[in-house]
Subunit: 348 residues, 2 copies
């Protein structure tokens, strides 16, 4: 089904929590794409400032992305199992596991973030991990925002359509970072971008945005052939000047861009408690990519974040979240504006 995003071109820069700020949003918007701001790891005051910065810089439409998970209750047993799993690493790096620094906790969309949406009225609001509760969602929609959310299966796409999404992002298994999976946590039935985009485009009455493995003009055109009305691209922006990833993450991505055969990615729940795709590294390999004792999202990130922080000081990425999709070959060390101008040739 054809339909239109408010941006000049139907290309969304994927929200990259922890890897971007308003500078990237602005650069993409100026080139006619739909720039996104990833709000999930921003305190509310910072979120407000970032939106103000975007609105002052450019009057093009933009997207603000929130997470829509529910915060789990953690039992003492879960906590013990989790810390035991990591015990050898705490010893190796001389970390006191009973006194871990808190770090940023990824919180779901709430009344405070809603107040920011109501005040600044971003034209597009996207959610990851489903949708927020109805009262919050209705309030977002009442601002006039177009609402997007990600589906990783056909079932999730139908659920999102029934529960108020205006567009569905078909997040194929190729996509980097956190899987949007929300109806269950079974990775076995997660679908590839090629199949998911086609099937959702056929089965839904609302438009589909393809995501996962899209990296250049030809692959944008391929996604449109599969029935998508728009594309969302994340990994390809991660080497751009505006990307805020660490030097170590940047080096890892550069290697994967040149030699994807040597630096494959995999989906792991070990860093945050939820499945996410990144370049394979030591922790993923040693614990196994998906471990039942990973503390439920978002709480696993406290311990792995502490390990990451200490190891990265020694230039060691054993515990780093090297988020990356299955096709990093399009990544370029140029401005997000220039990259977007290249990519939107697909629509001309």
């Amino acid at each position: 089904m054809s339909a239109f995003l408010p941006s000049k071109f139907p290309l969304i820069q994927a929200p990259l929590a922890g890897a971007q700020n308003s500078a990237m949003t602005i650069a993409v918007c100026r080139a006619g794409g739909l720039g996104s701001l990833a709000a999930a790891m921003l305190p509310v005051e910072k979120l407000e400032q970032e939106i103000q910065t975007i609105q002052a810089a450019c009057d093009a439409p933009f997207n603000v992305n929130f997470f829509a998970h529910t915060m789990p209750q953690i039992t003492a047993e879960q906590q013990d199992q989790w810390l035991s799993l990591l015990d050898q690493y705490f010893n190796e790096w001389d970390i006191d596991k009973n006194n871990l620094p808190q770090g940023v906790i990824r919180r779901p969309f709430d009344e405070n973030q809603l107040a920011v949406v109501e005040k600044y009225r971003p034209p597009v609001v996207s959610f990851h991990f489903g949708l927020p509760e109805k009262k919050l969602l209705d309030a977002v929609k009442a601002t006039g925002a177009i609402v997007l959310s990600s589906a990783t299966t056909v079932e999730e796409g139908l659920w999102l359509q029934e529960n108020g999404a205006d567009f569905v992002i078909a997040q194929g298994i190729e996509a980097g970072g956190h899987r949007g999976i929300f109806l269950n946590q079974d990775l076995s039935t997660q679908m590839g971008t090629f199949a998911l985009t086609q099937v959702l485009s056929q089965k839904l009455n609302i438009p589909v945005i393809a995501a996962g493995g899209i990296t250049d003009v030809s692959s944008i055109q391929a996604a449109l052939k599969l029935g998508a009305s728009a594309v969302q691209m994340g990994t390809v922006y991660m080497l751009c000047h505006e990307s805020t990833i660490s030097t170590l993450h940047r080096q890892a991505l550069e290697q994967a861009t040149r030699q994807p055969e040597k630096y494959p990615t995999a989906v792991t729940n070990i860093f945050s408690g939820r499945p996410a795709r990144g370049i394979v590294n030591r922790l993923m390999q040693e614990t196994g990519f998906v471990h039942p004792h990973a503390l439920p999202f978002p709480f696993a990130a406290t311990a792995t974040g502490a390990l990451k922080s200490v190891a990265e000081k020694q230039n060691d990425t054993s515990f780093s979240t090297l988020w990356c999709g299955q096709n990093p070959t399009g990544c370029k060390n140029i401005s997000a504006y220039d990259l977007t101008m290249e990519l939107v040739q697909a629509f001309l």
Copy 2:
């Protein structure tokens, strides 16, 4: 890289071991596609007859597909663990686990099959699970056959190029049936069709054939946009008149075709010992999709085949290999000739 298959159109009907015979090969060839014959489960005499049938019916080029695995040594402990895993089912169906019917054992390409290739000289020979040993491969190539094999990762694609394949099939994670995976058995780094096709097309000097989730004219065109020189399509042929799948398999596919959200597929090693994608059913769910005690390929199939055989007599698909890719929506109950004539519109 552009290059040409000997068929009129660059569309291969995927070899469907256990689901087709020469009738399908012939129908596809007559419509200008490259029909395949799946040889892995055929005795040599039957293989000869089938090739004779094809050559008598049609002088178009065709493909014969063989498996290239190595036969594993099974220990008594492996056998015990495997039968223990299935014990409850043997009891449930009153099967004597010490006296299982042998069934068809999938054997790798050997001197006897080579003799058939040398005698009948099929224009294309494809292998699954890598390539046969060099002496056998060289002999196949000496017949003039174009040699294809499947890669499921970038690393496998480079390996096949270095080791004598003329074309590489990019078998994305969407594909139904057995994964061609051969360099290791780690499913975590298996790639989606969208990303794999693009990356292999960029990295290889030989042409790439996209496979997995391709189901209609638009998706063929999408695969070409991703850099593929040709496509290979399997699931879409499985409801054709020429398909030899059981009535129960046909019914399951028809359901998945109508309601893919209700009948998802998953990759499992439980039926044969090697990962293969099929519609989720009871055995897959109860043992878990991938179980370390599944007897190495091809030997697991003896026990699961016995269960399947008994259960299917009661119209029960708990143990059936319901092979199917992630997008069955293009399946049609028409002749493979008519289906191919529709699909090749993509190239006109």
